[in-house]
Subunit: 180 residues, 2 copies
DNA sequence: TTTGGATTGTAGCATGTGCTACATACCATC
DNA sequence: GATGGTATGTAGCACATGCTACAATCCAAA
């Protein structure tokens, strides 16, 4: 109990640093700006986390948690058709309001693609959680729910990539999700 | 004609720098390592390209060209079923042999997601080209070819993201593309 | 009150960053 | 041969990076 206030402060500091990463990107998340965002010093960040790498891993974990919490709080699409389900989710995730989360998500994916184990684990964790969420919210009685969820997940992630291509990407998304 | 040898050398230098980016990633593509890879000096790179930003944009363009060339040289999947078409392409693009291209592609996408106009244009260009390629190689008589191509493209790009999640990602890909 | 660990500030180091100033060398044209 | 633009080497600047040495402060336990 003695370290409760310290733990509280640590939590708000981490939240502020996570906000900073969200706003400015993982690649430019360096010690001094992060420390400034948290209201402390680079000296203290190294003292607490041991290294920048460990700190960034922690922040990635926090952002992953936020994503899953956001997801769990989201209502399921009100449809019985898997295609419409995917279209609804894609529309939500490609909305401008969640652009920062999309950006940091893609940054994490890019780091994972270079072979970083921590990033790879975080990506796997998020994707697994997402697939589970889709599975649970699928219309009851959907055949092959695992495969259907995976397929919807792939289409949604594809839409996330397409959405980075500006106007042309929007056209592609429109086409992809409005196939008669 | 007088500057032909210079142009040649410039081309091989650019190719070597592009190789370096492919091997080590866009985020760590800094002047001195790029110069070393090209066999010249940071001094000369700035002299020729004006700024690091312009150089990286040029290298991104070169890599985008390589991607489209690779794509154009690829044989179309030998199938009449759009689902199998997508599965075949996804299997090719998630193969370990093209991992460096996947990585640099996702790095480019991540930069575009942060709002970089050059990256956004490059992503749009590649996606458009890819959609066109799919469209042209679709089984003849496919209804709504534009929409079908866009949908296949989304699924393939989704598979690229899933493939960064290690073993778990492979499972998801297997599920997504083997839906009965 | 003393002790000893946890915490924090100050100052800095070694290296990497993009980029520049200055002085050459080169090389086609006059 | 003189000239003037193009190309290139040498050296460095100002700043950012991750991290550390050292000293001071705090605060609970003895």
């Amino acid at each position: 109990m003695a370290d409760q206030p310290t733990a509280d402060r640590r939590q708000t500091e981490e939240a502020r640093m996570a906000d900073h990463v969200l706003a400015h990107g993982l690649p430019v998340a360096t010690l001094r700006p992060l420390a400034a965002a948290a209201g402390t010093s680079d000296r203290m960040l190294i003292y607490r986390y041991g290294s920048k790498e460990a700190l960034v891993a922690r922040l990635a974990e926090i952002l992953a948690d936020r994503l899953t919490v956001l997801l769990d709080a989201a209502p399921a699409p009100a449809t019985d058709v898997p295609e419409a389900f995917a279209a609804d989710m894609a529309a939500r995730l490609t909305h401008a309001a969640v652009a920062p989360y999309r950006a940091v998500w893609l940054e994490l994916v890019a780091i994972a693609a270079r072979g970083n184990p921590a990033a790879e684990a975080a990506v796997a964790r998020i994707l697994t959680h997402f697939a589970g969420w889709i599975n649970q919210h699928l219309p009851p009685g959907t055949p092959f729910p695992d495969a259907t969820a995976a397929r919807i997940l792939a289409m949604i992630e594809g839409a996330v990539i397409l959405s980075t291509a500006g106007a042309k990407g929007q056209t592609l998304i429109l086409h992809a999700f409005n196939t008669p």
